[in-house]
Amino acid sequence: MTNVGCNKRSALHRHGCLIGVLALLFAANAQALDFELPLVDGGKFQRLSNLSPRITLVNFWRADCPPCIAELPLLVDAAQRLGFRLVSVALQTPGETRAHWPRVPGSPGSHVALLGPSEPRGLLRRFGNASGAIPYSAMLRPDGSLCVKRMGEIEQGWITDNLAKCGT
């Protein structure tokens, strides 16, 4: 870890420096969002930052969430048609996910289907969702930074409106 030079200063400086470092870390957190989650087929882990730079919509869902199920086909279809990447994160067991999606739809590259962690609130909070409610989506710029987030079911218009905004 980088030595930020706080250790030889006065108590006040050390305190202030700590706040500054925390604030910078918090700011950095908003700049580059990342995770490492397994693919729904149970294979390898996928790190978000290892995917090629592209506008990415990260969508969190569960099979027992009716609005999540309602919006998923729209998102898969929109990703193929409009050229952004959909990363769906299932917040349930592999078996529950397979029961809903025996074959994950989408062409290679347009849809990456992942399994969420056992305790998903940390991940949700990191992506700006402190309440833990779903459906929840976060649109990321090609550099991986958060552009816009959405709580609740997504309509087509929301996607098209924000693609232009997040592509810049």
Binding site: F26, A27, E96, L115, E119, L124, F127, P135, K149
Partner: protein
């Protein structure tokens, strides 16, 4: 510009950037129809303080299915800080213990409504089916539940599932020891609501592991039925209602299900008291350790005194029939300004007709619960104001083995109106969450009682948090069942109780929720004052007849503990969890009636691949200080051959395996084994014991009551 000024400017700039780049600056949060994530696949939970009940663990429906649990007790067992304790070898009373405190301090709720107490709390927890359950939330600590101040150890809340799609499920299982189980669940959503129906039929034979003819595992025949009604908008209210019907007969002691014949067989000796570890030298009876004879005793050739048994099958048996009906209705309505109104009602009627070794006990218990709760934001503070009224009574009658009638021995009627207020506020961009509350209850016997609590949650980062909780709770002791479920050989109960049991609780929990791993470490401190005790061995100073004194300990019971649970995902299909707990107990010897271990370790592997879903769970239970818990200094316990019981129980492992294989879209196969290593307590020491005068009991517990059990089944999702 001096160095300090320059440095502070840098800090201010950094803070400004942090705010400008924080996710909230980009929020486009239109609160449409959403579902709150209550826990992940395995239900570990980072705490969240907005709610009236602050959950510390959550068990999902998927987890319940994986572990093959049919009832509440089976669903919650074997988690750090959570255990199910069996307290009787011939009636299998089982309690859910939180933080290793006695089970009576755990409040069971259904959809947030507390509707179990005393009689129903003794056998009723085996009768809470888990079909149609969305999840089970556990809240450890007296400071975690605003609406249940009597939950000195915490609460267990069963949350019904509002179905989103039509479901028709049938599952049948069979296994060793006469295990038969049939489950059915039907869900039908309609425009604006849904209805559900659930059925669970369960049978298990009574078991005798050591060949003496006295069972260690109580047999049962159980039928559970439930109906659910969900209405999304009726007068602006979102309603969920539930009706549960229970019919159970359980019988332990003498083997067999011919309960009428057992009850009427009250003479002779059908048992072999010389069988098993520590068995008597004679099959006719057991050794009187102190050698003091009474009429009918036999002096053996070696000079020891044998007390022959002549009570027949019925004299060693307990047969309990239960019928229960309960109804719950919860309605929530959103009001202007972000406010929410919640109304809740609960009703339970619990009938118990029991036979306790020749004594007959018939009890009827009623419970009502009413709650009105308004949640409204005032600026950045979310206020919750509420009122609830709890009513419970118990009326009993019966007759003793000698034919004498008894009535109202343990009757009581408690009426407890209470009011509460809770304030919740998130500070520092939601990094700090504070929840403070206070409630005041007016108990019709114990008077006014005020219970405050305070919770603080600090998010170190998105993934890690610390929670500190302090709280107070109270509980009005209800005598008989929660203290000792088989003490009816008494003519009256003298109550020497002036105060409710009071708990002061403090806890700290550190949580980490990463992408591949999750860690929760909890520290708990519980101090219970006015600990209620039942002395069933007292005698009336005038008549000399046996009486029972209901009193309170002069010293508090203090239980301190630390537990930790770490989960790591090895691959997308394989996840492992390692859990451990260590507890320390301070109490006057004998006050805690049942022994508890200082340490437990848990290991769990979940393998979910292709059409297979497999779970392996291993629990290691450390030694228990039997000498201290059972107060051997004043009340030594002996085996039937007159040798002393173990001072310390041995440690042991229990491993359960369960697997499900999906044959096709509708059919799945179930295969499992409970207690794979087959360890039973009777391999080392019997549950039966005698005191120095040769009086007999069935409550010497520290290990599993049943050995290895294989089962298999089939499930259809139609």
């Amino acid at each position: 510009m001096n160095h300090r000024t320059k440095h502070l400017k840098t800090i201010h700039l950094a803070i400004l950037m942090a705010y400008a780049l924080s996710p909230s600056a980009y929020a486009d949060e239109r609160q449409l129809s959403t579902v709150e994530v209550k826990g992940g696949p395995q239900g570990k939970l980072q705490p969240k303080l907005r709610d009236e009940i602050i959950k510390t663990e959550s068990i999902s429906a998927a987890d319940i299915r994986k572990t093959n649990a049919a009832t509440l007790n089976e669903a919650v067992d074997n988690n750090p800080g959570v255990a199910v304790q069996t307290e009787c070898s011939i009636c299998n009373v089982r309690n859910v213990t939180l933080n290793n405190l006695p089970g009576r301090f755990t409040t069971i709720m259904i959809d947030g409504v507390p509707i179990f107490s005393s009689v129903s709390g003794a056998y009723g927890l085996d009768m809470i089916g888990v079909n149609g359950v969305e999840r089970i939330d556990i809240s450890r600590g007296a400071g975690t539940s605003l609406i249940a101040p009597e939950a000195l150890a915490g609460t267990v809340n069963i949350v019904s599932k509002r179905p989103a799609k039509a479901e028709s499920i049938v599952e049948a299982q069979a296994g060793q020891y006469g295990y038969r189980r049939l489950d059915g669940f039907l869900a039908r959503p309609f425009a604006g609501g849904a209805v559900t129906a659930a059925l669970n039929l369960n049978h298990h034979d009574s078991l005798d592991g050591n060949g003496n003819g006295v069972g260690e595992y109580t047999g049962y025949e159980r039928a559970l039925g439930g109906f659910g009604l969900f209405l999304d908008d009726i007068g602006g209210f979102k309603l969920r209602g539930r009706l549960d019907l229970v019919n159970e007969q359980r019988g332990g002691g003498a083997l067999g299900s011919d309960s009428g014949a057992i009850k009427s067989n009250m003479s002779g000796n059908p048992f072999n008291w010389s069988a098993g570890r520590g068995g008597s030298p004679s099959p006719a009876g057991w050794i009187v350790p102190n050698g003091v004879t009474q009429a009918g005793d036999i002096t053996l050739a070696d000079g020891r005194i044998l007390r022959p048994y002549g009570g027949g099958r019925g004299g060693m048996s307990e047969i309990i029939e239960t019928r229960r009906q309960q109804a719950i209705l919860v309605g929530e309505r959103k009001l202007d300004g972000g406010a929410r109104l919640k109304l809740a009602f609960g009703y339970a009627n619990h009938d118990q007709d029991s036979f306790y070794e020749g004594d007959y006990y018939i009890a009827k218990q009623k419970q009502h619960y009413t709650e009105a709760n308004l949640q409204k934001p005032f600026g950045a503070t979310l206020l919750t104001l509420g009122f609830n009224y709890r009513y419970e009574d118990l009326k009993s009658h019966g007759r003793l083995a000698d034919g004498s009638a008894v009535a109202g021995l343990d009757d009581y009627a408690y009426k407890t109106p209470g009011a509460y207020v809770q304030a919740y506020r998130a500070l520092f961009d939601e990094r700090l969450e504070l929840n403070g509350s206070i409630r005041h209850d007016r108990h019709n016997v114990f008077g006014g009682i005020t219970s405050p609590r305070l919770n603080a949650l600090w998010h170190h980062s998105a993934e890690t948090s610390s929670r500190i909780a302090v709280g107070r709770g109270f509980r009005a002791p209800t005598s008989f069942f929660e203290q000792d479920h088989g003490i009816l050989a008494t003519t009256r109960i003298e109550r020497h109780i002036d105060n409710p049991e009071i708990s002061d609780n403090a806890s700290y929990a550190f949580s980490h929720a990463g992408d591949r791993d999750a860690l929760v470490v909890s520290l708990n401190y519980n101090k219970i004052k006015n600990y209620a005790l039942l002395d069933s061995g007292a005698t009336d100073p005038v008549s000399g007849a046996p009486i029972t004194v209901f009193t309170q300990s002069s010293e508090p019971v203090i239980v301190k503990g630390i537990d930790a649970s770490y989960t790591y995902r090895f691959t997308g299909n394989l996840e492992g969890t390692l859990g451990a707990e260590k507890f320390n107990y301070q109490f006057r010897p004998g006050d805690l009636s049942f022994a508890r271990p200082d340490e437990r370790v848990y290991l769990r592997l979940d393998y979910d691949v292709g059409d297979w879903d497999i779970i392996a769970r291993v629990a290691w239970t450390g030694p228990m200080d039997l000498k201290r818990f059972h107060d051997y200094a004043n009340n030594p316990r002996y085996n039937l051959d007159g040798t002393p019981k173990l001072d310390k129980s041995p440690s042991y492992w229990v491993m359960d395996l369960s697997g499900r294989y999906k044959v096709n879209k509708t059919a799945s196969l179930v295969l499992g084994v409970n207690n794979l290593f087959g360890f039973r307590q009777t391999d080392r020491e019997d549950f039966l014991w005698v005191d120095s005068a040769g009086n007999f009991d069935v409550t010497h517990f520290w290990g599993p009551t049943r050995g290895r059990q294989l089962y298999a089944g089939v499930r259809f999702d139609l």
